[in-house]
Every structure is written in C-alpha cells, then in structure tokens.
Amino acid sequence: MTDIAVVSVTTAGPRRGWRSLGTWLGAAVVGITLFAAIFGPWLAPHDPFTQDLTRRLLPPFWMDGTDPAHPFGTDQLGRDYLSRLIYGARISMLIGIAVTITSGVIGIVLGVIGGFAGGKVDDAVLFAITCRLSIPVVLVALAVVGLLGSSLTLLVLTLGLLLWDRFAVVARSTTMQVRNLDFVAAAWCAGCSRGYILAREVLPNIASHLAVVATLEIALAILLEAALSFLGLGVPPPLPSWGLMIAEAKEYMFFSPWVIMIPGVALFVLVFGINLLGDGLRDLLGTGERS
C-alpha cells in the first residue's frame, strides 16, 4: 500500500491532471462555452433581440407542442431561448475573463509587492486588503448603478476593482513563502536584480496557485454578474445575460418552469466546469514535487 502511495506521489504533477476525468469534463464545458461565446453570431439560429408576441413561451424540444425552429422554446416576449442562451454565454465569459484580468493584475501586483518587500509596504498592502474586505460588493454595485446607471463596461469595472482581494491574499502569502527559500537567496547572491528575481524566480513558483485563484474568480464573477443582473443591478435589458434571463423568468416559473431552469442549469454547469478545470490546472502546473 505504501509503495503505491509513494509512486503516485512522485509521478504526480504534469500527468495526473490529464488523467483525471474531472479535468477533461471541465475543459470540455469551458471549451464549449467559449466556442459558443466566440462564434455566437454564427451559431445562434435567431436574433436574440427579435420579439414575436404571437409565439410567447413556446416549450423546449422535450415537451409537447414545440416548434422545431425554437429547440429551447421562446421567452415571455417570444424571443428564441437558444439564441439568448448562446448570446448570454458571451456576456458571462466576457465578464468572467475581463473581471478576472482586471482584478488579477491589481491583486497580484499588490500581493507580490507586499509579500516580497515585507515591513511597512506589506502593512500597507494588508491594510488595503482589509479595507477591500470590509466593502460589500452588492452595495457598491447598487451605488454605482444608482449614480451612473447600468452598463456592461461599468459592471466589469465595478467587479474588477472589487474582486482582487483573493488574488492579493494568495499572491502575498505564496510570495512570502517562496521569498524565504534558499534559491531566492542564491539568486540574490548571484547578483540578480530585484525585478529579475520577482519575475523569474518568484512568479513562476506561485503561478499555479494564482491559476487556481483565477478559475475561482472567473466562476465567482460569472455568478456575481448573474446575481446582480437578477437584482436589476447588472447588465441592462435587453442584453441576454443568464442572470437577467433567470430574473425575467421568475414570474413564469410556476407555469413554465423550464424558462428558469435552462439558464439556471447553464450557469451551474459552467461554474462547475470552471472549478473542475481549476483543480486540473493546479495539478498540471505543479512541479512534481510535494515539498
């Protein structure tokens, strides 16, 4: 038994990631969603904004009385549900990735600087993180929408400027760990500059942790967008966001439960897939060492 355990530990790392079914599943879900997001205009059978009030709330293909032109049925305004779902994937992925890039840059820069410099600089970074954690995201979003109105750009900026805390915390603590390892001291003794040590010795060794945070943040941003859109604080109608679709469908859920179920399931599957991919990434980016 111990032999098996030892072997699996030493051969872990680059290969274990792709051997797990979860990684493949996550990659497939994220891949399909990305594909739909990028090629949405060519994939969608209808225009997602065209209303047809004579064909409202048509049921999806697995129910009776469906229209083959609308495989996922239509919503309360007669818009094609599949097309709205595909365009909604665009919004979700766009928000997830844009928010994560914005917050990632802020959080990683702050965290790495604080963790590497230590002392007063680190105190300042910690204070910034504490301040950020004491700000409720939904209240800020409410205030921003109240003051400036709702738009996609504004939503990305609001979330991007707020969701950097986890990046900062993880970047800071991993940088502190790596900074104290002897290979960083050796690079210093070798005459390397601070910038070189940060970029070539520290960052590659914390990248796998940051990649995991990035996947979590993408999922979180997508969920937050859905939640804010549900509350009417996110993307403005008639943009087809999954959260907005759920919000618009909630009045019909007792008579046509699929209108709320389809975007809900899509949201769940996407977030689940991103998390699976994140787990796989962590294994893939490991060095094969468990020290």
Binding site: D182, F183, A185, A186, A190, C192, E201, P204, G288, E289
Partner: protein, 322 residues
C-alpha cells in the same frame, strides 16, 4: 599575498524584533551579538554551535542577505553594504544547506548554474553554455544534466549543482552553510572531498558552518565556537580539538556520539534548559548551563582573552592562565 583578510567582521550585531501581537510587548531577539572575526585569504574558518546560536544569521550577514543592526562586514577589504551586486557576486558566493530548497524547481539545471553569469550581463550565450558545461563536468555531473529539472536529481547531485553555481564566476570566497547536513552520510564525504579539491584548485577561502564537529575538524584550518550569538572560543583546529579552553567547547566535543550503541547519548552535564536568544542571561551567557560556573559568572561578563591565533571568553580561562 595581501594581508587583507578575505572576510572581516567588525563588532557585528543583528537583532530581530518579534511581534508581541496587539497587546503583547514586542521582544528583541539578539541573533548575532558583537561578533568580530577575520578569515585570512586561502583558509577555512569553521563555525560550530547548536541550532539557534546565530551561525546561519552570521552567514547571511557575511553574504549581504541581511543588513547588520550594528557593526560592519568587509569582504576583501570592502564594505558589503552599498557594494554593486554584480561585483559582490564575483567576490563571494553561497552553498546552502538544503539542496531541495536552494534550486528553483522551475528552471533547468543549465539555467540554474548559468544564473550568476547571466546576471553579470557581459557574457555571450555561447560562452555561457561552454562555461556551464565545463563547470558541470568539474563538479562531477554529466553535461546532459543541463537539460534536466532539479526534481529529477538526487540530493547529492543537487548539491553539486549548487556548488557549480557558486563557483561559475570563480569567486574568491564561498560561504558554506551546513553544505552536507541534509545529505546521506555516504554522499557527505563525496561533497566534502569535492569542496576540498575545488578549494585547492581555485584557491578559495571558505567560511564553513556546521554543527557536525567531525566535518569541521576535517575541513577547517581554524574553528570558532558560537553560543547564543557570540563567539566564545576561536582557535586553530588542532588546538581547539585537543585543548579546548571554554567549557562549552568541551561539552560540544564530549557530546559527539560514539559508535558503541550501549553507551547511549552522552551526558555532558549541560542540563535540559535550552538557551533563549530573546532572554540572554546576565554575566556570562553560558553560566546557567555551565558545569563549572563560579559565582562571578552570573554577574560579570567574561573578558576576551586574545592571543595571536586564539581567543576565549571565560572567567575560568583567566584563572587557568594565571
């Protein structure tokens, strides 16, 4: 040869503050307390002492990894602080204890060994490749190792890589901080022999830190014994091992395990109280554990008795000398 010592430490002191939390009081830990030493070019100074005595902090002060709180460190006659990093790298290089932590797990062996050359910024790619291959061969590694990752190497091989990296710039001084402590006994001898060969070949000066007395006796020309941040005795190796003057040195020598299992761990009469560098006893800092302490040891700091090549800080050494 110049009379300038390779390493000269003048009254160096290094303290660390430990946070006492929100309501506690911060404590000051004195890791290195008023240490002065000189290592003549071409010699090997061994530094011994138990863990926590400040020997690694001293190594870091000498490497410039930590600034001194007071006092100064001269390497080849020049002050370490404010020295250009590339110039410093050509003078002094480290070999660390743990070869699993001292090599970046994400870089290939060739890149790791080449790092000091790359940092100099004056060597062409082809020249770097040639020098790395030469150095790998010199430390006993096949040149095809250059493409491997540290995870694929054994502890001994990794320590050879660390030595190759330290010597690729042909520095004059190498600080070895317990270079064999993390290795198997069978590999330790190989690494020690390699270090000795390289010292002769490149005319190096070593500062050799270890808690293993046998290793120090084997490599060092002179030995300094550290206790709670101070050097309590320093003498040429043979003299220190045959006629130790400080009771702590005698206890260290007596604590070496014998090969007979029946004898067990030797009792050297030091008691079970471990020293606390945040709470250094008054008088002689060794007196609470000293088996031969007299009344004066608890109140008066012992004077430094310096001869040409040896020195000791102990009241009883005065009495013995008188």
């Amino acid at each position: 040869m110049s009379a300038t010592p390779a390493i000269e430490v003048k009254s160096a002191r290094r303290t660390f503050r430990t946070s006492g939390g929100l309501f506690g009081t911060a404590r000051e830990v004195v890791a290195v307390d008023d240490v002065s030493l000189a290592v003549p070019a071409g010699s090997v100074l061994g530094i011994v002492g138990e863990s926590g005595c400040g020997k690694s902090t001293l190594a870091r002060l000498i490497l410039g990894l930590l600034p001194t709180t007071a006092g100064e460190v001269l390497v080849d006659g020049q002050r370490l602080d404010g020295m250009d990093r590339r110039f410093r790298a050509e003078l002094i290089q480290p070999v660390f204890q743990d070869p699993f932590a001292s090599l970046n797990p994400r870089r290939r062996i060739g890149d790791i060994v080449a790092l000091p050359l790359v940092a100099q910024g004056k060597f062409a790619g082809a020249e770097i490749g040639r020098k790395v291959a030469e150095m790998l061969e010199r430390v006993g590694l096949a040149s095809d190792m250059a493409g491997r990752l540290p995870a694929e190497l054994s502890g001994g091989q990794r320590q050879r890589v660390a030595i190759a990296r330290a010597l690729i710039l042909r520095p004059r001084i190498v600080v070895c901080d317990e270079p064999t402590s993390a290795l198997d006994v069978s590999v330790q001898a190989q690494i020690l022999n390699l270090l000795a060969e390289l010292r002769r070949e490149f005319n190096l000066t070593y500062l050799f830190i270890s808690h293993n007395l046998a290793v120090v006796e084997h490599v060092a020309t002179e030995v300094a014994v550290m206790y709670l941040g101070r050097i309590v005795e320093q003498a040429p190796t043979a003299e220190l091992f045959h006629a130790p003057r400080h009771p702590y040195t005698r206890a260290l020598l007596a604590s070496v395990l014998t090969p007979e299992p029946g004898l067990g761990v030797p009792d050297v009469g030091l008691g079970d109280i471990l020293p606390d560098p945040a709470n250094i006893p008054p008088g002689c800092r060794f007196h609470p554990r000293c088996p031969v302490a007299i009344e004066r040891c608890g109140s008066v700091a012992p004077p430094l008795l310096a001869a040409a090549h040896s020195r000791v800080e102990c009241h009883l050494a005065v009495a013995g000398a008188a």
